[in-house]
């Protein structure tokens, strides 16, 4: 029965594919490398497929081992000197191979899963580190540090990031949450939802994300929804260069508390809103925009935080 055979063959193939995927996923998930393999081989030629990974590698003191970055990797400035292997969204496998790396690092949120598999088939060691939440970002730094053999630098970096986040929390104290809208795109208006690490940062910065009720990570919002949710602070994270134009864009909605109180800010998102070692800095910037009063009083070293107006 050819049909029956076909079906069996088909099932067998599916099984092989599933098993292979499970194996690859395990391999690629950035699961902690076993100590033996780690001590055996500390990677010396690293290709980074994500700006946040590039930043983290530099922060861990492994910047001199990076041999390839994306065109989006512009921080720290030394990253600009490293050969490019394509864009963040679309890296070139050939270019990656050409750099003869012994480790390729990326984030599952940006790096195409298929490409990871292809690179692994080609014999490359690829590690992807999830960075979808603040907790995951901390974890990614820890795992990355282990992978590149910089455990101590990693622990130090994590302590610094943690203390930056703690300091923001101390400044904010028990202040009332302000309703915030963080805009990442116009026409249509796209906001950061609560399921992104940016949404999480907004909440940690003493804000209440008005796009938080949407199920999407990056919801499109209509003007009326925004008016109804009455944001007290609007942060423009789209294009930093058009600051004045964006400010004016909101002026016709005079009922918005953010317009009345003049709390519309622009934020150069491409520089700092990255899921990497600078999230502590990013958090402080956001907190300063949302609760400037808490930081104005910082010089007086007031413990116990500030209570907003």
């Amino acid at each position: 029965m050819p049909l029956e055979m076909n079906r069996k063959l088909f099932l067998a193939r599916i099984l092989v594919i599933v098993l292979l995927q499970a194996f690859l996923a395990n391999h690629a998930s950035g699961a902690e490398p076993s100590p033996s393999s780690r001590s055996a081989k500390v990677p010396q030629r690293i290709v980074s497929l994500a700006p946040s990974m590039t930043e983290a590698l530099f922060a861990l003191g492994a910047g001199d081992r990076i041999v390839g970055v994306t065109t989006f990797c512009d921080y720290p400035p030394q990253a600009l000197q490293i050969p490019k292997i394509g864009s963040f969204v679309n890296p070139s496998i050939e270019a990656v191979l050409g750099r003869r790396p012994d480790l390729v690092v990326g984030v599952p949120e940006g790096t195409d899963h298929e490409k990871v598999k292809q690179m692994e088939t080609l014999g490359l060691r690829v590690s992807v580190f999830p960075v979808s939440s603040v907790g995951a970002i901390f974890n990614s730094v820890r795992l990355l540090a282990q992978t590149v053999g910089r455990d101590e630098a990693g622990a130090k970096l994590l302590r610094r990031m943690q203390s930056e986040m703690d300091s923001v929390r101390r400044h904010l104290g028990g202040s009332r949450r302000r309703r915030v809208l963080l805009v990442v795109g116009y026409r249509p208006l796209v906001a950061a939802g609560s399921k992104t690490f940016i949404g999480e940062l907004l909440s940690l910065a003493g804000g209440e994300n008005i796009a938080g009720a949407a199920q999407q990570s990056w919801p499109i919002l209509s003007a009326e929804t925004i008016v109804a949710r009455a944001p007290e602070v609007i942060i423009e994270a789209g294009m930093g260069s058009e600051r004045e134009a964006q400010r004016l864009r909101w002026q016709d909605l005079s009922s918005l508390p953010a317009v009345k109180e003049g709390r519309i800010y622009s934020y150069p998102s491409d520089k700092i809103l990255r899921p990497g070692p600078r999230i502590g800095e990013a958090l402080e910037e956001l907190a300063r925009l949302i609760h400037p009063e808490c930081f104005a009083r910082a010089s007086s070293k007031r413990e116990g935080g500030c209570e907003g107006p």
């Binding site: 116009y186 249509p188 199920q215 919002l221 009326e224 008016v227 109804a228 009922s255």
Partner: protein, 349 residues
């Protein structure tokens, strides 16, 4: 063809006008946020959230939707009649694609940085539609030329050219998308997705102006279009300057489509669906079909946009998604019906 009596004209259009009015009121009052009308009106001088929602967020958008829907339906009605092809519409023929490419290039070339915000707004309102219009006109003449086989318009060539041209334009837009600044690129998506969101009455006024001028221009040719849609030879024998009329109608519909695409991007299927439904309901007299399609296009798009705003509240769906969900299956239905009718030899209705 039935004789078009004044009574029928008034009756049909009166009814549609009434429906349009109901849709206008309905889509202004309905949305993800419920508003208090009396509070909104009371707040006209003092301001308030209800006023902002009704008069700043919703009203301009609904008004824009009426013009866009009406204009797209009218332009596509003309294209279907001119090309004697039921599958023709600005979108499928690649005219909208050409218009968005023109608009995008216009936006990129336009020296944003040297102008203040107000000047920019005026520039966007006058220059971008012009660029879109040029894009629409160029793509239409290109596709028209390419589909002429021995001096006659070949319907399948035309559709094929349109589809290929659309793919080509999308490729150019994707190319710009990947070479441009990441954050500028996000804004290009608007052209591909389409959106009616606007808060500017200035934009709305301008677009209504463009659309009305263009549609009246088209409407004037209703009678000639009746004859042309039955066959060019026949129309010529009856004393119509077919070539001249065709050219005028192509230019006028490019004008309408260009202006519309420049403010709303590519919203598909409105143009395809509405004229057909009207034809099924009202017959083939273009003198009646023009106003009827215009009104029905407005009605259809205003409800589609209301759904887009409300279904997934607080998030919003692209309005093109709604029109495509309704229009896609309808397109297949038409294609199926046509395939049973041998489109090559019989002028379609």
């Amino acid at each position: 063809m039935k004789v078009l009596s004044r009574r029928r004209m008034v009756l049909v259009n009166g009814l549609l006008l009434l429906l349009l009015f109901i849709s206008f009121v309905g889509s202004t009052l309905l949305g993800p946020v419920s508003i208090n009308l009396s509070e909104a009106i009371r707040g006209l001088f003092s301001g308030g959230p209800h006023t902002d929602i009704l008069f700043r967020a919703r009203l301009p958008r609904v008004l824009l939707g009426l013009a866009v829907g009406g204009g797209l339906a009218s332009a596509s009605l003309v294209l279907q009649a001119l090309l004697r092809n039921p599958l023709a519409c600005a979108h499928i023929l690649g005219v909208s694609g050409g218009a968005s490419l023109g608009g995008i290039l216009g936006l990129i070339v336009f020296p944003h940085l040297f102008l203040s915000t107000n000047q920019q707004l005026i520039g966007e309102i006058s220059w971008v539609p012009l660029a879109s219009f040029i894009g629409a006109l160029c793509s239409m003449s290109l596709i028209y030329r390419l589909s002429l086989v021995h001096g006659r318009l070949h319907p399948y060539h035309l559709l094929l050219c349109g589809v290929i041209f659309n793919a080509f334009v999308s490729a150019i837009i994707m190319f710009l998308n990947s070479v441009l600044d990441f954050y500028q690129a996000q804004n290009l998506l608007f052209w591909l997705m389409g959106s009616l969101s606007t808060r500017s009455y200035l934009t709305v006024t301008f677009i209504w102006g463009y659309v009305l001028v263009g549609c009246l221009w088209l409407w004037r040719h209703g009678l000639s279009l009746n004859l042309i849609s039955l066959g060019e030879e026949g129309a010529m024998q009856l004393g119509i300057d077919v070539d001249r009329t065709q050219k005028q109608l192509f230019v006028a519909s490019s004008f309408v489509v260009g202006a519309i695409v420049s403010v709303s991007g590519m919203i598909g299927f409105v143009g395809l669906m509405v004229p057909h439904v009207m034809r099924l309901l009202l017959g083939n007299d273009h003198r009646l079909l023009f106003p009827a399609s215009f009104l029905a296009g407005g009605i259809f798009l205003s409800w589609a946009d209301t759904l887009a705003r409300t279904l997934y509240a607080p998030a919003e769906l692209p309005v093109g998604v709604i029109t495509a969900f309704l229009g896609g299956p309808f397109f297949f239905f038409l294609l199926y019906r046509e395939s049973r009718k041998n489109i090559l030899h019989e002028p379609s209705r």
